[in-house]
């Protein structure tokens, strides 16, 4: 596992911190909500008790006629279009027969009571007008009879007392073929608590016949009128805390009263990520729909109200764009039954909100912090592993002989110490190499002198008149000495080559021209093989020392010749590779043994059979010295077609810095000793 992966793992573990914080916060949130709900319900219950006395009087055995407050007047013209939105609330009263029935709606507008009777009459009578008679008797004692006039107007008469003012006005219109509509209007103060609305159908309009009757009165009890009284509203206003809105509804959910104050929104609206965080926290409860604008003509269907009307107190939190609100609903009881409910709409608890906001901030901060710490850690790990990798690469370059020193490191930490230790190690190795190199030089020199003594002595001895036996011995001794001299010579040559590589004067060299000339030359000298130049371009310019490059080519072709059977083809190849050229020799020999990979270019390494005669194995080492001298490198591999090996050197177009390169480890001497 790399350092970076290890740190990624640590970063993941760190991520557990905000997650656990999240769960803690949720717990906290739940506890806070429960406490708030208890507090809200506890505060609302006394209000509900206070509102008990404001419930309408029980209408036992009577039909209840709600008088809905209205914010606009109906025009009393007999047309029902201005009642349109209220049709759903109409109550229906039918006669015992199926021929007659009517729907009644009542509204209070300012201080007036207005009503619509929609009569369905199968026997509307003749003469262009209904022969029906409508009697309205109010709890206050006022009683009126409405009959249809020919002209479409209604005639209203008082039944309670003949003559006098008629405070009720009415109008009628025919409902095409099905019946007719009657609108009426009366001051509210004259209405009282009950209403007996009766329609008398005299059928074909024959006077004296017994009418069919439909009425709001059951038995002898007229229907009860229920008003949302301003007094109730005033009472509710006194109970509402500032910034809160109270709704008082009856058992059916009709709004009996609502306070006029505005609900304070929480200080800051919740939008964007804050709202999202709140939702995640599970703070929002219930449906998404909010309460309507306050008004009297409403029936609330909110879930909280429904629960309260079923006898269950509770509250829920609503998150709206302009803030957080709580809706707390408690049932209003009378005589052991639920008679209504009180709904308090108040701004979201400041404490909860603040704690949530603080928490949201904490979560976001924690996530950001963890992200930052993770990124920081990864960056740090990346930087650390980059430094270690750089050190490793530099060490490998030094080991491969491509560089002589590690980059200087000034960091004072452990990696810096490690780099400096490496640097010291490389320095010591370098000193040791120099010592060995000097030793080789000194040794060759020191050995030369005694060898000269031996050889000159042998030369002298050969000229003496020696017996045949002794002459043979001297000849053998000479042979050995010559061979020794040959080895020393080879060692000296390699040393000189290193010097000349470092001192080489570089100039423009065209590898293609050079390869073509060499191919021709080799072909002229060696007729046992076929020679070919394989070039990919017409020119391959490099900056180099042509003599050295040819020397490298000599070594490579010597090598190829010794491995390629007679008649085989040897190819000299120049190919574009990267920002330089690959110059190599392809032979048809047995290929490279896998065991030699990586050592092929070391000195004193040979893949030849030991039986092939004396061979120092310095040829490819020389090739490497030359390649490195040019800032290039050597490559050796088997041909793709398996026909042999291809060994060569890559030379950059421009050498980086020739002269600073030094062959790896000891230059043990030599180069190409081929006896």
């Amino acid at each position: 596992m790399t350092l970076r992966r290890q740190l990624l793992l640590i970063a993941l573990v760190l991520a557990a911190l905000p997650v656990s914080g999240w769960f803690t916060a949720r717990e906290m949130q739940t506890a806070l909500r429960a406490a708030e709900e208890r507090a809200g319900v506890a505060a609302a219950q006394p209000l509900a008790r206070a509102m008990q006395s404001w419930l309408p009087a029980p209408a036992a055995g009577r039909i209840v006629l709600p008088v809905h407050p209205s914010d606009y007047p109906r025009s009393i013209d007999g047309f029902a279009d201005d009642w349109q939105p209220w049709f759903d609330f109409a109550q229906r009263f039918d006669a015992r027969t199926t021929t007659l029935g009517f729907e009644l709606q009542l509204v209070a507008w300012q201080r007036r009571l207005q009503g619509l009777l929609w009569v369905r009459d199968r026997t509307p009578g003749g003469g262009g007008r209904p022969a029906d008679e409508i009697q309205l008797t109010f709890g206050s004692g006022w009683s009126f009879r409405i009959t249809a006039d020919v002209a479409g107007t209604a005639r209203v008469e008082r039944l309670d007392a003949a003559g006098g003012d008629v405070p009720l006005s009415a109008a009628w219109t025919r409902d095409a073929g099905r019946g007719y509509r009657v609108e009426f209007d009366l001051p509210l103060s004259l209405a009282g608590g009950t209403l007996d609305a009766t329609v008398l159908d005299f059928g074909d309009g024959l006077p004296g016949s017994r009418p069919v009757v439909a009425s709001t009165t059951t038995g002898s009890r007229p229907a009860a009128l229920r008003f949302s009284e301003p007094a109730r509203i005033a009472a509710l206003e006194t109970l509402a805390a500032p910034g809160t809105r109270l709704w008082f509804v009856d058992a059916a959910g009709w709004v009996l009263a609502v306070t006029s104050g505005e609900v304070e929104a929480s200080a800051v609206g919740l939008r964007g990520w804050r709202r999202t965080v709140y939702r995640w926290l599970g703070s929002e409860e219930g449906g998404a729909a909010g309460l309507p604008e306050p008004g009297m003509d409403l029936r609330l269907g909110d879930g909280q109200i429904t629960a309260a009307l079923a006898g269950v107190s509770g509250s829920r939190l609503r998150i709206e764009p302009d803030g957080v609100r709580t809706l707390t609903a408690v049932p209003v009881m009378a005589g052991g039954t639920v008679r209504g409910a009180l709904l308090a709409e108040s701004p979201g608890d400041k404490l909860l909100l603040v704690s949530n906001r603080a928490f949201a901030g904490t979560v976001v901060t924690a996530v950001l912090a963890v992200a930052l710490v993770s990124i920081g850690l990864l960056a740090y790990a990346g930087w650390l592993s980059w430094r270690i990798r750089r050190l490793r690469d530099a060490a490998e370059r030094v080991a491969a002989g491509e560089a002589t020193a590690l980059p200087r490191v000034t960091a004072s930490d452990e990696v810096g110490d490690l780099a400096r230790s490496f640097e010291r190690l490389v320095g010591q190795l370098d000193d040791y190499n120099r010592y060995l190199q000097g030793l080789a030089g000194r040794l060759a020199h020191e050995l030369d002198t005694p060898l000269s003594i031996v050889r000159s002595s042998l030369d002298n001895l050969q000229d003496e008149g020696l017996p045949e036996d002794a002459r043979r011995c001297v000849a053998r001794a000479r042979e050995g000495a010559d061979r020794l001299a040959g080895i020393f010579r080879a060692m000296r040559e390699a040393r000189r080559l290193e010097e000349s590589v470092n001192r080489a004067e570089l100039g423009p060299v065209d590898l293609v021209a050079l390869v073509r000339a060499c191919t021709e030359a080799y072909g002229a000298v060696d007729t046992a093989h076929r020679w070919a130049a394989v070039v990919s371009h017409e020119a391959a310019p490099v900056t180099g020392a042509d003599e050295l490059i040819v020397q490298a080519l000599d070594k490579l072709t010597d090598n190829a010749r010794s491995f390629t059977p007679e008649g085989g083809q040897i190819e000299l190849v120049v190919r574009r590779r990267g920002r330089g050229w690959w110059l190599g020799v392809r032979d048809e020999g047995p290929g490279l043994p896998a065991t030699m990979a990586g050592h092929l270019f070391d000195s004193m390494v040979s893949v030849r059979d030991p039986g092939d005669g004396f061979h120092l194995g310095l040829g490819l080492h020389v090739v490497r010295l030359i390649a490195q001298g040019h800032g290039g490198k050597v490559t050796a591999r088997n041909r793709r077609d398996g026909a042999g090996a291809e060994i060569g050197l890559w030379l950059p177009e421009r050498p980086r810095e020739v002269g600073t390169r030094r062959p790896r480890l000891v230059s043990d001497g030599s180069a190409a000793y081929t006896p």
Binding site: T449, D463, C518, A521, V525
Partner: protein, 229 residues
Amino acid sequence: MSRSVAVVEDEAAIRQNYVEALARYGYDARGYSDRESALAAFAARLPDLVIIDVGLGSEPEGGFDLCRELRGRSQALPIIFLTARDSDLDIISGLRLGADDYLSKDISLQHLLARVVALFRRLEVLGSGGGAEERVEQGDLAIEIESMTVSWQGQPVALTVTEFWLVHALARFPGHVKNRDQLMDAAKIVVDAGTITSHIKRIRKKFHRVDPAFDEIDTVHGMGYRWRQ
């Protein structure tokens, strides 16, 4: 009277071997182990030829000083340098000490004697005033075989015996490529290929001193060298 040859060499065994070999070939050979004793002996009379080792006992480059002093006394005295270090060849050349040849120590006695004989011969020819000697001419190049002298565009080029043989081998058949082995045979030295390269380099430099436009020795990649036609 036999010719006198002085061998200045700090290594006693080598010195004696050389002295003995030279004596066997009829030279009046004497050995000296250091610069002082050699100079003391030469004070009265200079030998006919001197073989000097570069490193003399405590003086690593005592041979150079000795050569300079001897050259100061006689321009004609043939001097052969022997050295164990390859780099010395460049120094000798660079110092322009006027040595007639410089050889590495691993040369065989026979080759050394051949050099001695050659130098005496050149001396003789020059002493006799030249004349009808064999001569090779190749464009601006003129080679006097007997006196082992070379001139370019009429001006003498001071070549050592080794260099002379190399130029001779190349110029005799212009256009023919001579590989390193052939050149080594011609120069009667057994050295490595790299040494031939540096010899050729030195020869080019010497010709350049006479004629900066000199470009007659051609390198044939992979094969050797040739004298341009």
